[in-house]
């Protein structure tokens, strides 16, 4: 329990240092004497930006996210088993192999369907 407070303290220390760098630079920075609306536009190779960048994106990103959730949840289930491998013994091993086998079946299906291939 006390160790979690130490982790929190570490987080605070890191935050203070990085935030201090930003705040210090904001205080010390050399201020520009001229203001111009051109300075505040986004960079688009010297041309005037065409429309906003906030638009639709390709569906393949969605597929990657979907498969990621699948495997990340698998990892969440594997961790509790991983620290108790010795105690759970052979029964635990059989259970986990069948669990992973079902998941890898899904993986094989995805690969065969070219769900993860980008062209």
């Amino acid at each position: 329990m006390t160790e979690s407070y130490a982790a929190l303290g570490f987080l605070l220390g890191a935050f203070l240092m990085a935030g201090g760098m930003l705040a210090g630079a904001a205080l010390l920075r050399v201020r520009a004497t001229k203001k111009s609306p051109l300075k505040d536009t986004t960079y688009e190779c010297g041309e005037e930006p065409v429309g906003a960048a906030w638009m639709q994106f390709h569906a393949r990103y969605y597929l990657v996210a979907l498969v990621f959730v699948l495997f990340d949840v698998e990892a969440v289930f594997l961790f509790p088993w991983a620290i108790e491998v010795h105690e759970l013994g052979r029964a635990g091993l059989i259970a986990i192999v069948s669990f992973v086998a079902v998941l890898m079946l899904g993986w094989a299906y995805g690969v065969r369907k070219d769900a993860l291939r980008w062209e």
Partner: protein, 330 residues
Amino acid sequence: MSALLRGFVYGLLVVNAVLLTSAVNIWFERKFSARMQSRVGPTRVGPLGLLQPFADVAKLMSKEDTVPASGNRVLFTAAPLLATVCALAAAAVVPFTPDVVAADLDVGVLWVLAVGSITTIAIFMAGWASNNKFALLGGMRSIAQAVSYEVPLVLSAMVPVVLSGTMSLSGIVTWQSEHLWIAAWPLIPGLPAFVIFFLAMTAEANRIPFDIPEAESELVAGVTTEYSGMKFALFYVGEYAHTLVGSAIASALFLGGWSGPMAATMPWLGLVYMVVKTLFLFFMITWVRWSLVRFRSDQLLAICWKWLVPISVGLVLVAALWVELVPGVH
């Protein structure tokens, strides 16, 4: 309360150590890459150009700090902060000697993976808040890459957990000091798991050959296109911190951390071992950076999903089989 204070002091110390190492490394990397390309590198600022990183910081401080008018100011400012803090926070559970560890969490490995993956959100935040097409593309690719490489990273980090039966990083290092380095024995889940962890960690830190989020030649500067001054510098600190802390974690998980000859009797020697191992891995990443070219996005995902994921799943099962069949692992 004392634990909070201890964590805080360690936090300040580790952050400063990382900043100093980054500064020295920037100089070293410039010299090293120059030698690889038959140049001499920085020579003007200080002896051998040693003060170059400090000159760079002074230059960045004097730059005007612009925020795109059409972007989101809050997220734009928060992104570099979040990227750096989360990259540094993973160092909280790294044991430097048997006794020196900021926070010896029971779920150390989970902590590392959890805070490490938040940097992905920070990078996407930067890409989105800029309202710039290059930045958004970089952010999106970065999500696809980081999310994919998260899977082999998590699974290969599970191999030491299975073998040692604990998720605390100091516990894993202690286990290795009583047995052998996990990268060396058992050789079959150990060594490939180390290689996969190292690759995935490089990808998570967006270093070449996995630097798709920046990809200067196609995306201008990727997510950092609109950044200038100290915010830009923080992104770079964050990237170096991620690489350095990642190297420290890889050496704790697979290369025995502080363990080595005589480390049990002389704790300071443990610190030396840990630093040498970490800097060696850090140097490897620099070396790779100047030797290889960038992967294409689709190749990047193919390597991950078709090879690294199934192999790392297999390695976890082999490790479990090892624990089951070989007596005296625990």
